[in-house]
Symmetry: C3
Subunit: 175 residues, 3 copies
């Protein structure tokens, strides 16, 4: 089993970012011809999707839908006079998690619910011929629901995504 | 690792279709007693679900909910005077994807968002005793969100679903 | 491959319950240092999630959102004068499933749709250093959408969740 960790800063609030080339580069570097890849998030407001990622307007439609469907907490730092999506009341405060030992004064229940609704904590993809076995329009991406730009009290979001590769000796095709 | 590809035409717009027997037949033909099966879609508007599939009224409730929750693009070929579900404006056009080299003049942002919300690009299921290990009401199905009947400008949808089987030598049950 | 079955009664309607310690205990008992765990539900109205589970107000926000977004069947035994979430008409009746050979006179289309929207029939998680490889706030939980308390005609819900463990010899970290 092979492991590659991707580490990056997530400074924009809600966005989708293609990581297909990164995953394929890891598979190539590991010289794995066939097997499975599990791409997994280590976060609860950033998930993984396999979807059509190459058309920017589609990504914008998806992001807008996620913001319209799951209303933002009225207390969120995102909600200001120019905020265009619906808001509502939630109970959750980040700092109430018993594991929380960092500065986090935001109210991100909506980001959690969007992650549950629109993404996965991990996705499993076959590898064949030394790369991800994907359809013509399929690519793998991270879906960030709660990036932080470092302005205000909350620090920039540090994110980690893991690429696990489990090689297999051969693939037998069944007619 | 064993691979079986299912290929079929998808001519109805939004529907759920049971493939449990097909997957179990592949497992039987491959003489695999225990292991994992990954059923994966090669499309971004057709996903896989494990759910209760045998009650047709439930499938109708699920399909109607998906059409009501995620509004159709006003420009879609589906939207005509008898269309009963909500519509709205999106930005996405199929032909704007840089990989698009076929005739596709439709507007299917809603189908993409429904696939993200209600289905999976792949599902992982255990195999034991030579068949899928599923509960009494569980079955595996494809959930199509963007079939095309071939009338109008867009051709019939050709779909491919892959069944990957990874056999294991034995299962040890932990008390 | 190792298998542990968790069996429990589910008497509350909609709730999220942490099973991280149970899964880690199974991994420890099985003396598995690295590999994959697949946690799978045998039900269509109870799914698995990997999410932030330790903050009770967040769980309440998630549960309320699921009840507000997917309207309950007007005929459901849950809907009485104090029911605070929206209701609507569905077609599904539990007893119409051809496999149904038990007393089940409820109307749970909404529970099915919530399970499809907010949970997974199975989740795949890496194991490293003898325990689940999870981020600081990530835990694994069951998300029950249709518990039954045994009052009225329908018996208490008996639930089974399976923990499948596939060990690997070693993990090689790629720089």
């Amino acid at each position: 089993m092979l492991l590659k960790e991707l580490k990056f800063d997530s400074t924009k609030h809600t966005y989708i970012k293609n990581i297909t080339d990164v995953v394929n580069d890891v598979i190539k570097k590991a010289k794995v011809n066939q097997g499975f890849t599990v791409v997994s998030s280590r976060h609860t407001t950033l998930g993984i999707i396999v979807h059509e990622i190459a058309e920017p307007n589609l990504l914008e439609d998806i992001v807008h839908h996620s913001l319209d469907l799951v209303h933002e907490d009225k207390r969120s730092t995102r909600v200001h006079k120019d905020y265009k999506h619906p808001t509502k009341d939630y109970k959750h405060r980040c700092q109430d998690n018993p594991y929380c030992d960092e500065i986090d004064e935001d109210y991100n229940a909506a980001a959690h619910i969007r992650a549950l609704t629109f993404s996965h904590s991990s996705v499993t993809m076959p590898i064949s011929n030394g790369k991800l076995e994907l359809g013509k329009y399929q690519e793998v991406a991270i879906f960030e629901f709660d990036g932080r730009d470092g302005k205000g009290k909350n620090p920039v979001r540090k994110r980690t995504v893991q690429i696990w590769i489990s090689p297999f000796d051969e693939v037998e095709v069944i007619d």
